[in-house]
């Protein structure tokens, strides 16, 4: 039986338009703000600067969490994390493209 509309929880799309402060991101990833700064300096995360304050998109949350997991579980250094995150995103993009082209 399909679920009925009235009891469903409503979600919002959390994407490129969602704006997070460094404090939000630090809490959501459970790392301190200094570490978020390091991620930005290493190019793991992109910042949107609004009146000289740093903001992050919902997409950055996904990248930051991935970076934290890789760093912790694989004992990678920052440069290694930055490379792995980029390569994994590229891999995912290629896999989606391959999936889309599969007859």
């Amino acid at each position: 039986m399909p679920p009925s509309d009235d009891q469903a929880i409503t979600g919002t799309i959390f994407d490129q338009s969602a704006i997070l402060s460094i404090k939000d991101l630090s809490r959501m990833c459970q790392v301190d703000e200094r570490h978020i700064v390091e991620f930005v300096e290493e190019g793991v995360l992109n910042v949107v600067e609004i009146s000289s304050e740093w903001h992050f998109t919902g997409d950055a949350l996904r990248r930051a969490r991935l970076a934290v997991r890789l760093e912790r579980d694989l004992e990678l250094n920052l440069a290694g994390v930055a490379l792995a995150v980029d390569l994994l995103e590229e891999l995912q993009r290629l896999r989606r493209e391959l999936e889309a082209r599969r007859p």
Binding site: G11, I13, L70, L74, A84, E97, A100
Partner: protein
């Protein structure tokens, strides 16, 4: 519960050095890390390896485990003797966020969890939870309620980490794309005390669709047309996410030709486009009438499809 041979899990000798254990862990972690690995049971294997490393990298835990391990073999029925860990002191922050086995919990659980809850990152607010789901494309095209069953880690009354199944009925926002997250406010972990609960983030991937292929916000459909429809042009019925439309195939169309229906892809903002990729279907020549028609065409047209090959 079963006795776990952590040395066997990590593929190291019982007298392995710290450096050897670390090396073995890194190699296995890269192989089975759920973010990296394509192995089928990667997540389970990664947890097993993480648990073994948690014990073997800590001199105190390793010593305590070694003392137990002398009389046990992997898979054997096991119950920790009372006060087995007296004389050992456990330090460290405890496990990251993976659920360890009953075997681990019975040995190191109480200490590890105690350390964990003390180390709560921000007091007064529950943790956010994250999950991935496979969604049918229609959920994004039309929007609407979908039921997800998620496995959520939870701390029970005794402070043990358990995995709970949870069914959620979620109103999927129309126009969501693969890789995007749905945020459900207040659906994460409960806070300790009176704080606000965390949020739940659901990352979306699409199941393969029988008709449409997804590329970001664009959709495409392979549309078979008859040779004469491609050659002479025609108006053909085509399914699109918003219903069947009459599509004008221009005269002189080729196989692989793309027709774009602007704004008829995934209804994101801005909406994606819908591409129709033409395929030319040949009628079978399995009766005299069809054979005669093909023969007549061959006689009427001087056509060499291999002209560009120089053959």
């Amino acid at each position: 519960m079963e006795f776990k041979d952590y040395y066997k899990v990590m593929g190291v000798a019982r007298d392995a050095t710290e450096a050897q254990i670390k090396q073995a862990y890194r190699k296995l972690a890269r192989k089975y890390h759920p973010d990296v690995s394509k192995e089928k049971d990667a997540e389970a294997r990664f947890k097993e390896v993480g648990e073994a490393y948690e014990v073997l990298k800590s001199p105190e835990k390793r010593a305590a485990y070694d003392q137990l391990g002398q009389n046990h073999r992997a898979g054997e029925e096991f119950r920790p003797p009372p006060n087995w860990d007296s004389g050992f002191e456990f330090s460290g922050a405890g496990p990251g966020n993976s659920a360890y086995s009953d075997f681990f919990d019975s040995l190191f659980g109480a200490q590890a969890r105690a350390g964990r809850s003390r180390g709560e990152f921000h007091a007064g607010r529950g943790e956010d939870h994250h999950a991935k789901v496979l969604l049918d494309l229609e959920a994004s095209l039309i929007g609407g309620p979908r039921t997800f069953t998620l496995r959520m880690p939870e701390i029970d009354e005794e402070g043990r980490l358990i995995s709970k199944e949870r069914t959620l009925n979620v109103q999927v926002p129309k126009g969501i794309l693969a890789g995007q997250q749905i945020r459900l406010a207040g659906q994460g972990a409960r806070a300790s005390g009176s704080g606000t609960p965390g949020d739940l983030y659901i990352e979306v991937e699409f199941q393969p669709h029988p008709l449409y292929r997804v590329d970001g916000r664009d959709l495409s459909l392979e549309l078979p047309v008859a040779p004469w429809e491609a050659a002479l042009g025609a108006s053909v019925k085509t399914p699109t996410p918003t219903g069947i439309v009459d599509l004008k195939v221009p005269p002189g169309s080729r196989a692989g030709g793309k027709l774009r229906l602007k704004g008829r892809g995934i209804p994101a903002s801005p909406p994606g486009d819908f591409y129709v990729v033409l395929q030319i279907a040949l009628p079978a020549a399995n009766d005299d009438k069809a054979k005669a028609a093909y023969a007549a065409l061959a006689a009427a047209l001087p056509f060499n499809p291999r002209a560009s090959l120089g053959a």
